[in-house]
């Protein structure tokens, strides 16, 4: 081959492969990992910048109607996805205490998975109602406010009171129409207010929170705050708020909800280039994905 043609071939090959080399799993400007040690306690923080809607949310609330478990559903969905992180979601319980098979577990509180209603029972102790839209957005409403805002197919908003049976029925119909995924969880902070009182549960455990905030630049950022040390829910959520205000200097905290760290302490964060799970214990949980009963996944598109 003449020398000139060889050089041209090499240049073309380099130009074709360069974008592939640079692309990686996801845009590193949109996902940042941070570790802090505050008062001797480790904080693992994952910041997800939601601008341009490139980072999206997907929630797997329950096994589906044919009994396919969460992990299988997730694996099938994640096959061609660029994952950013995956975490366990909300609480679950065994309906029959004599049968501890994980296939029998049920989600606690209202649960709708991709428009399919799983559980219509409202759990009074869980004040947060999280709604994940097919577009990849997540919003959380405070059930105790007696008025939740939903976004209809035509783009209009509507206010419903889930304590009203008629409104509750309209809510289920809306969720079926727009194929929303809905679940209840602990709401620790809402619209800049800490909702946990001094008389809250004094049990200490590892904590993980999802906090959605607006920065001083007006940017919407999701924070996964992983606290791998024993703290009460009041202590843990106060520490999370202090971190967001004093270190991240956020302007507004839309909400902070709980991500379960008990028996389904699952958290996988993925390397931005290789897409492999990060082994760092501050950005990962102690359980495998097959132990998770429900999952919240952030992905890049």
């Amino acid at each position: 081959m003449p020398k000139k043609n060889k050089i041209i071939s090499l240049l073309v090959a380099f130009q074709l492969t360069l974008p592939l080399l640079l692309s990686g799993q996801f845009d590193q400007k949109l996902v940042k990992f941070d570790f802090r040690e505050i008062d001797g306690n480790p904080y693992g923080i994952i910041k997800l910048y939601m601008k341009n809607e490139r980072i999206k949310v997907k929630y797997f609330a329950s096994k589906d109607e044919s009994g396919i478990p969460i992990m299988e559903r997730f694996n099938e969905w994640a096959f061609n996805k660029k994952l950013v992180l995956v975490s366990s979601g909300t609480y679950y319980y065994y309906p029959n205490k004599n049968n501890r098979n994980k296939n029998t577990v049920l989600p606690v509180g209202i649960c709708i998975d991709n428009g399919k209603v799983i559980n219509k029972s409202t759990e009074t102790n869980l004040g947060g109602l999280a709604m994940v839209y097919p577009s990849g957005k997540i919003t959380v409403e405070n059930l105790k406010d007696k008025s939740i805002t939903i976004r209809q197919k035509n783009g209009n908003s509507a206010n419903l009171n889930l304590a009203d049976p008629f409104d509750k029925n309209l809510f289920f119909k809306w969720a079926e129409d727009v194929r929303a995924t809905v679940f209840q969880t602990h709401l620790f902070a809402y619209k800049n207010q800490l909702l946990i009182g001094q008389n809250s549960n004094s049990y200490k455990d590892y904590r993980r929170f999802l906090a959605v905030c607006t920065t001083s630049n007006g940017e919407l950022v999701h924070y996964i705050i992983n606290l791998p040390f024993n703290s009460t829910i009041l202590d843990g959520s106060s520490k999370a708020i202090d971190y967001l205000r004093q270190i991240e200097h956020v302007k507004d905290i839309a909400f902070i909800i709980n991500l379960d760290t008990g028996a389904q302490n699952t958290l996988f964060s993925y390397h931005p280039k290789s897409g492999t799970p990060l082994p760092n214990p501050n950005f990962s949980g102690t359980k495998t994905m097959k132990d998770a009963i429900n999952l919240i996944a952030y992905y890049y598109e």
Binding site: F166, N169, Y203
Partner: protein
């Protein structure tokens, strides 16, 4: 401690375990699952005076108590006739009329029935049947579905709440057939009464999920000093009992081998 005492301790542990297993098995608890539709077929309500009134006046002028007393409200077909008659007479939004029937009449009715405080399987089963009738009616009547499904959900939510409260007040209820039957009927309609777990339930759940770190962490935090001492003593005696038993078995084996 000799091997006899160790073996005796193991036997006590085994007997306690078996009695616990027997206790948690389902207790017989007969419930009459047949349902006789005893509600009135007609309410004989005269609604012509509602003509040309607005929906705001429904609250004060509609003969709610007469409808409630007639028990025709449990008949979805009769209720639908009354709703359609009201819609024909009233001037206003149909959604407000539906909302009136669901909230002002059925919530008031359900509250009235909720004066039955004690756990009554027959009463709850009756409410489930009424709910299912409304749900079925709505599935066959598109126009009525919007409010009949709301009424059905209202009944199911109430039954679900009552089952949760009943189980909290009497933990042994979960082993009764009637309770499990009612819970199953609720689940078939996407209502899952939450089962509050006792400390022992949580302990077993964590133990069976092999979450040992969480188990030890919780045990250390949630037990009193006395409970911690009892746990340590129990583990110690069990270990000693096992060691003594193994020692005894090995001695027998060695003795048999020597005799041969």
């Amino acid at each position: 401690m000799n091997y006899k005492k160790g073996f005796f301790l193991l036997c006590i542990f085994f007997v306690l375990f078996i009695s616990w297993a027997v206790k948690i098995s389902i207790e017989e608890d007969p419930i009459n699952v047949t349902y006789n539709a005893e509600y009135a077929q007609s309410s004989n309500l005269d609604l012509h005076f509602l003509k040309a009134l607005s929906t705001d006046q429904l609250e004060t002028l509609f003969p709610k108590q007469k409808l409630i007393d007639s028990i025709a409200f449990e008949n979805p077909k009769e209720l639908d006739r009354i709703v359609n008659q009201t819609l024909g007479l009233i001037q206003g939004d149909s959604m407000q009329v539906y909302r009136f029937f669901v909230k002002s009449i059925f919530e008031e009715i359900i509250l009235k029935n909720d004066r039955i405080v004690e756990y009554s399987p027959e009463h709850l089963l009756h409410q489930i049947y009424v709910a299912e009738n409304f749900k079925k009616y709505g599935e066959n009547n598109e126009a009525a579905r919007i409010y009949t499904s709301a009424i059905a959900d209202l009944y199911f939510q109430r039954v679900s709440n009552k089952l949760e409260i009943a189980q909290q007040n009497e933990k042994s209820l979960v082993n009764k057939f009637s309770f499990q039957y009612l819970v199953q009927r609720c689940r078939e309609n996407n209502y899952f009464p939450n089962r509050k777990e006792t400390s022992i339930d949580k302990f077993m759940k964590t133990f069976l999920e092999n979450d040992y770190f969480h188990l030890i962490n919780t045990t250390i935090q949630k037990t009193t000093i006395l409970q911690k001492i009892i746990i340590v003593c129990f583990l110690l005696f069990t270990t000693l009992g096992c060691l003594q038993t193994f020692h005894f078995i090995i001695k027998i084996l060695i003795k048999n081998a020597k005799e041969k």
